[in-house]
């Protein structure tokens, strides 16, 4: 249920209350309907792991899982995800207790500047679950929604392959 809150001044549309399950935790927040899921996560919930690279669904740095499916969080509004389960990179693991994919990215140096890395990691976790990590070519294809300008791609492929092998 979305509760509509009257706006001030009439220029900006009403703020709305949104309920999300973020990294396993039920969160409620009041946002303007024009706020993207990415901005809601970063600016309202303090989850800055997902990055804003292009804000246009082109680079993949903002990739999160919604109900276990990877999406670009910059191209969906927070209000559109009412009631859904959102998993960000923070929900996968921590430096003290990393997810196997996160550990594999370090082991295989699948990063340089690290700006795209959270999106790559989230994408990789989903890709393995999707069963798209069968070969290097398959990984390359299914990881191509996440740009890496430093081009640490071979390391990313190696990391995904290692993590997928370990999981099966």
């Amino acid at each position: 249920m979305i509760e509509v809150v009257p706006s001030e001044g009439g220029v900006v549309p009403a703020a709305v209350e949104v309920g999300l399950v973020v990294n396993g935790e039920a969160r409620r927040l009041v946002v303007e309907p024009r706020v993207t899921l990415l901005d809601a996560l970063r600016e309202r919930l303090g989850l800055t792991g997902a990055k804003k690279g292009c804000d246009h669904g082109e680079c993949g740095a903002c990739t999160v899982l919604v109900d276990d499916r990877r999406i670009y969080s910059c191209t969906t509004l927070a209000v559109m995800q009412e009631g859904r389960r959102v998993t960000t990179v923070e929900g996968l693991g921590t430096p003290e207790s990393p997810h196997p994919v996160q550990a594999a990215f370090v082991e295989h140096d699948g990063m340089q500047c690290g700006m795209c890395t959270p999106g790559q990691v989230v994408s990789a976790v989903a890709l393995i679950a999707e069963g798209h990590a069968g070969s290097e070519d398959e990984i390359r294809e299914w990881m191509s929604g996440n740009l890496c300008r430093c081009a640490a791609y071979p390391g990313i492929v190696a990391a995904v392959r290692a993590a997928a092998g370990g999981a099966s």
Binding site: C59, D109, R140, A151
Partner: protein, 763 residues
């Protein structure tokens, strides 16, 4: 027991992989306000009227700056003249529009959505004038090209060309390139009650250089520049696009001073195309003259790139031609054509990147004329000494790069006939090119502190732009101190730390490394001096200068390694919480006298001391050989790079894991340059038509094939005590030419204008 040379994993790897690393945009701020830029929609003319009243009345809006109400800002000193700016003209100072994308308003609101919406309410009317677009107008010589004159001559290239048995005369073109780091530039400026300014900045521009830029822009006297703090801990990619001061860096500080609140400006992807420079398009005319054996008698390389009313940065394309081959007669010239666009700037492998495309393509064409193997042609013109400066190289393993690369690639299997090799329906082509890059040593200081628990912290105001500086410098310090790399923390990206030049021109390892090493050795010696004077120490009475580090934080007598002391014990007995030393490297003598860590103004002299003819006795370059296999679909004209072998002489390799990653990245930049990357400009309106990541194509994971990177890993005996040269840009150089050469080999079609695509191959 050395750490340098071993593949230590990235120390910040888990922070990055878990989303814990805080980039500039991620830093939480109390009372933060959000800014957006409104940019000019015409390329040339005047603002006839600008009405911001609706924006000012919109909810949440705190401030709207236009040229009508913005504080007066000075023209900035150009980087080439010792300053910090490429665009010297400040924003919002008059009604003139000089390029599409110039800032015409700066809006600050409580939230970014409010600011963005308010910017849309600003109504601007322009008096348009026809802009100058493209490299068609009158060419003029720039004042300087990388600190050197625009024209270079040795011998008489024109006469030698007329006398040559074989000549090749071709024109090559490269388009506008944008850096496109994944992280958009971000600035957060906040003033404290005492008038101090703190700027969190996604800064490749070097925090100290930016501090001086902020002081200049904001009218803060140089002696008070210490009241400005610039912080940049994690940088989401730079590639030249976050170097220097641009108007976008300055405006948040201006607004924050007016509002008394912190102001954050995060550029949109589209705004990145007009707010931080780009690589100019180039037109390069190459003329080669050779004898029948392929010995070069003459090269003329004439390069034209974009000039601007806002500042000047000629793409230094011809400079690689001046040094790469043993040729007695060489002319290199650089010219500019003024356009209504922003100022170009350094982009990864500036000069050598597009310059090598022209030179190494032309050599391939010459090899074709001579029916000579392209690799053999290069070997016949191998420069045993630097022909430009007529002096020896500090090191040059290029011959080994060629032979090792050819062997790993299987170059001998190449059938010289174009179009002769196939794999099923795919046409297969082999191509190669030489790589060289003039990486630099910049003045750098580092401070190393040994703490009571035996661990160490190293501080230096550089920025880790993703190259692995945090990791590699911990390794360098660990070896010099005789501890494990895990016992060393490298801290960077803060003007509170000792001065470092911006991490540009592949300078990081070779500038920071020796400074860190010197400071670590100095502090180790200081501990040794404490020990030899301490009656309770096993080192008592020894000569401190001969005390050796034997690992594990232990210092031993040179004559008896069984008698040793430890950092922990020496400090404890001396009652010291820590000891530290600060050292500089690549530094002009007068710099030693500035203990504040603030570089003396101007930066210009630093540039001159650090340019490539180091010490005046040797020339130092990074060298390499690129070998590429492509597959071309004969019906669709699709080009796929299927294999790359790169062999590089970068001196000593400090960390093969991070170095390899950079080399792969550089090669991939070359693939993008060859096959994908191009910013298109509307020929009449002078506006970019693809300021995004779907019109401007970057290589994706699926575009990158098997890449075999090999380093000779031979320390350069002269360049610095670590023997390390540079790796960041070299692997870009020559890749585009090697791909173009391979495409020619596959198809018989020579493409002289980048990027290469179906239109070029099927047309």
């Amino acid at each position: 027991m050395t750490s340098v040379g071993t593949p230590v994993p990235r120390v910040d790897g888990l922070l990055k992989a878990t989303g814990t690393a805080r980039y500039t945009a991620d830093i939480p701020f109390e009372d933060l306000t959000h800014a957006v830029l409104l940019q000019a929609t015409i390329a040339r003319g005047r603002i006839a009227s600008i009405d911001a009243s609706a924006a000012e009345a919109a909810p949440g809006v705190l401030l709207v700056l236009t040229h009508l109400n913005a504080p007066r800002l000075p023209r900035m000193r150009a980087f080439a003249k010792g300053g910090s700016a490429q665009q010297t003209v400040p924003a919002l100072q008059d009604d003139r529009v000089r390029f599409a994308g110039e800032t015409v308003a700066f809006v600050v609101a409580e939230s970014q959505e409010q600011a963005r919406y308010a910017a849309m309410l600003i109504s601007v009317e322009y008096d348009e004038e026809p802009p100058a677009v493209g490299l068609h107008g009158d060419a003029y010589p720039p004042a300087k090209v990388n600190g050197q004159p625009p024209d270079y001559r040795r011998g008489d290239a024109e006469r030698a060309l007329a006398d040559a048995a074989v000549t090749v005369e071709r024109t090559y073109r490269t388009p506008v390139h944008h850096h496109n780091p994944i992280e958009p530039p971000v600035t957060i400026a906040s003033w404290d009650d005492d008038g101090g300014l703190t700027v969190h900045e996604a800064a490749q521009g070097g925090v100290h250089m930016m501090r001086l830029g902020f002081a200049e822009a904001l009218g803060i006297p140089r002696r008070k520049a210490g009241s400005i703090r610039v912080v940049s801990k994690f940088l989401g990619g730079g590639f030249g696009g976050k170097g220097f001061m641009w108007p976008r860096n300055i405006l948040p500080a201006v607004a924050a001073r007016l509002l008394g609140r912190p102001v954050k400006l995060e550029l949109t992807r589209a705004q990145m195309y007009t707010s931080g420079g780009y690589r100019s398009e180039t037109v390069q005319r190459l003329r080669l003259g050779a004898d029948r054996d392929g010995r070069l008698g003459s090269i003329v390389h004439e390069s034209t790139s974009t000039g601007s009313d806002m500042g000047e940065f000629p793409e230094p394309c011809a400079q690689i031609t001046q040094m790469l081959y043993a040729c007695p007669n060489v002319t290199g010239t650089h010219r500019l054509v003024r356009q209504n666009v922003g100022v170009p700037t350094f982009t990864r492998a500036p000069g050598e990147g597009p310059g090598s495309f022209a030179l190494e393509s032309a050599l391939d064409e010459l090899a074709g004329e001579l029916s000579l193997d392209p690799l053999e042609l290069r070997l016949r013109n191998y420069a045993e000494t630097d022909p430009e400066h007529d002096r020896p190289w500090s090191s040059k393993g290029l011959r080994e790069c060629y032979s090792e690369g050819a062997e790993r690639f299987g170059w001998s299997a190449r059938n010289p006939e174009p179009g002769s090799m196939r794999d099923g329906r795919w046409l297969v082509g082999y191509g190669m090119a030489t790589a060289a890059y003039s990486s630099h040593t910049w003045p750098t200081f580092a401070r190393v502190r040994i703490r009571a628990d035996g661990t160490a912290v190293v501080r230096c105001a550089t920025t880790d732009i993703g190259t692995g500086t945090y990791t590699v410098m911990a390794q360098v310090a660990a070896d010099a101190l005789g501890v494990r790399p895990g016992d060393v923390t490298f801290e960077a990206g803060d003007t509170r730390y000792p001065f470092a030049f911006p991490p540009v021109s592949s300078s990081g390892a070779r500038s920071i490394g020796p400074a860190v090493r010197a400071a670590a050795l100095a502090v180790r010696t200081r501990v040794a001096r404490l020990a030899v004077k301490d009656r309770e120490s096993p080192l008592f009475g020894a000569d401190a200068a001969t005390v050796r580090a034997i690992g594990g934080g232990r210092l031993a007598r040179a004559d008896d390694p069984e008698r040793y002391d430890t950092f922990v014990d020496v400090l404890e007995r001396a009652g010291l919480g820590h000891v530290e030393e600060r050292k500089g490297y690549g530094v002009m003598p007068f710099l030693h006298s500035t203990a504040s860590g603030i570089a003396p103004w101007p930066v210009g002299p630093l540039l001159r001391v650090a340019t490539r003819p180091f010490a005046g006795r040797y020339s130092t370059y990074d060298f390499g050989a690129q070998f590429v296999e492509v597959r071309v679909d004969p019906d669709l004209g699709v080009v796929r790079v299927s294999r790359v072998v790169g062999v590089y002489d970068i001196g000593r390799v400090l960390n093969p894991r991070t170095a390899r990653n950079q080399a792969v990245g550089g090669i991939t930049w070359g693939i993008g340059m060859a096959l994908m990357e191009r910013t298109t400009t509307h020929p009449r309106l002078g506006k970019y038509t693809s300021p995004n990541l779907s019109g401007y194509l970057l290589p994706t994971n699926a575009d990158v094939p098997d890449i075999d990177v090999h380093f000779l890993d031979r320390p350069d005996p002269l360049v610095n005590p670590l023997g390390v040269k540079g790796v960041g840009e070299l692997p870009v150089v020559g890749v585009a030419a090697a791909i173009a050469n391979a495409v020619h080999h596959a198809t018989g079609k020579r493409v002289r204008s980048l990027p290469i695509g179906p239109a070029e191959l099927l047309g």
